[in-house]
Amino acid sequence: MGKWAIAVHGGAGVDPNLPVQRQEAAKQLLTRCLNLGISALRSNCPAIDVVELVVRELETDPLFNSGRGSALTENGTVEMEASIMDGPKRRCGAVSGLTTVKNPISLARLVMEKSPHSYLAFSGAEEFARQQGVELVDNEYFITEENLGMLKLAKEANSILFDYRIPNGGFETCSAGAAATDSPLQMNGLPISLYAPETVGCVVVDQEGRCAAATSTGGLMNKRTGRIGDSPLIGAGTYASNLCGVSCTGEGEAIIRATLARDVAAVMEYKGLCLQEAVDFVIKERLDEGQAGLIAVSKNGEVACGFNANGMFRGCATEDGFMEVGIWP
């Protein structure tokens, strides 16, 4: 029997002026989710069930940017995405462009288990949700007052930033991220106070040594309709193999380019690094100027997290009794 371990995150890149009250609320939610996962692991739930359970809880709570509380598109609507991966057979499921599915992570799991495909998006994904009979709600359910205010501010801020960042033709120009991050207080071109980093994720290794990973998000505040980020992309935002499980968060475009989650597993597999070394390596070497963070577990029951953003909402626990919840480095 191996040892279990679990980690959760609520996004990387945190407003340094985030009210203490909200910081405390975030820590409490992370602690509650960790405890939920721990009791499931103690009752021998397989890793894949635990990551789904924990991410559902994070989606249902409006605090973070997933499910209820998702960031809004430029049209003021919610378009959620999620993915899940089971390490032992590398089975995976992903969804994008959901507008009525209460728990996107559970639909991702159904794509993995009940469809012939790995990834469904937009109206086709909604249609599949109806066929599967998952809980549907009105798009209004996901929209919070707070996010409506944030979108308004983001639009005002972005009217300047966006023009500045649009590459003006030819391939010598840079794309997202690079130009946008020259001030440390911006992420994805948005002032940190408006950036909604709080994608959620969970990684688990159970007592059988099975790893799993799950990630869910509302995406980027003020995003274009139809924008897909890193969260639903296997190998970018989410990855699990027989060696480890990884969930990433931060500037989506940097994570996609870096195939960040797969790279943690790849340096373990092909270079023989241990989990913490692999995490440190990818955070240092793979992100270029992008800001991001990730959580990871290995089949041996190790847990690791790493980030180059100014902070990451995170928590982790292992069978040995180690438990930590934090925001800042």
């Binding site: 495909h117 790995s118 249609e127 391939f171 309709t225």
Partner: protein
């Protein structure tokens, strides 16, 4: 050093008994597209421009499952997807769920160059395409009316310079639908060739009769300056569920390029996603120090179950390789030192 190029028109269960009237047009198309790519490389075009140019040509050819000739969803519609990546900068663009864009690969390049995002899909991607068509037409009208003034505006000019082999046009969805694909969908529905649900047993997937997922197209190139690029485009899978996304538009799965190599993969999408095939070729080179050929062979033979994948790859030093573990793969390649190959099955003619 030296340029190299490879392109594919899909890997899968291509029957060796394929009649000449079906084989020859595809071979001719491969040769034609290879020539276009080679000419572009000889005239010092950037690898990124070359892969876009070649994939546009493959998309325009109705014999392959991309652009015109895309296979149909279970609703009888087309939903195309494409992805492009520049090796040195790792910049990339991807699109899914296109129903009206003549050349999806060019839209993916515009996503890369004109938006802060990497990946746009479905209605949002179509809306972006319409915007770009509008901008382009305005720029064009502007040149005619005010050409001396226009020359002072480098941005608009670069748009025009690229008009020849780039740019996005939209058209009614019926443009993409061929009688052959209507028949294919009918057969697939009659045969209830809905794939089995348990995807973890890849070996047990029925040998898709007649190549239901055949014909994705891709191109990888390295130019004389050592710039690498990869591009892939597809109509997806016959009788796929509406909304299904395959491996093609996913960076690291169907498409990947960095400063070591450029890779485009084709085959069973779900297996390619799970094994992050394109990134793994690059990762094995980078982390295990294998050569391009060794790394590609390792991924195709050791990582992905038989019958699932084929890929084309070039390295910064001008090597080229085109391994597959399916019955066949429509493929072609050429290098600066005069090596060239066009083939379908294992035996090389």
């Amino acid at each position: 050093m030296g340029w190299a190029i490879a392109l594919h028109g899909g890997a899968g269960d291509i029957p060796v008994t394929m009649p000449p009237e079906r084989r020859q047009p595809r071979e001719a198309a491969l040769r034609h597209c290879l020539d276009i790519g080679v000419d572009a490389l000889k005239s010092q075009k950037h690898a990124l421009d070359v892969v876009e140019l070649v994939v546009r040509e493959l998309e325009n050819n109705p014999n392959f499952n991309a652009g015109k000739g895309s296979v149909l969803t279970n609703a009888g519609t087309v939903e195309m997807e494409a992805c492009i990546m520049d090796g040195n900068t790792k910049r990339c663009g991807a699109v899914s769920g296109l129903t009206n864009v003549i050349n999806p690969i060019s839209l993916s390049r515009l996503v890369m160059e004109k938006t802060p995002h990497i990946y746009l899909a479905f209605d949002g991607a179509e809306a972006f395409a319409r915007e770009q068509v509008l901008i382009f037409n305005l720029a064009l009208r502007f040149t005619w009316l005010h050409s001396p003034l226009f020359l002072l505006i480098p941005v608009e000019l670069s748009l025009l310079q690229r008009k020849e082999n780039s740019g996005v046009e939209t058209i009614d969805s019926s443009h993409f639908i061929t009688p052959e694909n209507i028949e294919r969908l009918k057969q697939a529905k009659e045969a209830k060739r809905v794939q089995p649900i348990q995807k973890d047993v890849e070996k047990e997937l029925p040998a898709a009769s007649g190549g239901s997922q055949l014909g994705t197209v891709g191109c990888v190139a390295v130019d004389n300056q050592g710039n690498l690029a990869a591009a892939t485009s597809t109509g997806g899978l016959v009788n796929k569920m509406v909304g299904r996304i395959g491996d093609t538009p996913i960076i690291g799965s169907g498409t990947y390029a960095n400063n070591l190599c450029a890779v485009s993969a084709t085959g069973k999408g779900e297996a390619i996603i799970r094994h992050t095939v394109a990134r793994d070729v690059a990762a094995v080179m980078e982390f295990k120090g294998l050569s391009l050929k060794e790394a590609s062979a390792y991924v195709v033979e050791e990582c992905v179950p038989r019958g699932n994948v084929g890929l084309i790859a070039v390295s910064a030093s001008g090597e080229v390789t085109m391994p597959f573990n399916t019955t066949g793969m429509f493929r072609a390649c050429a290098t600066e030192d005069g090596y060239s190959q066009i083939g379908i099955w294992t035996s090389v003619e």
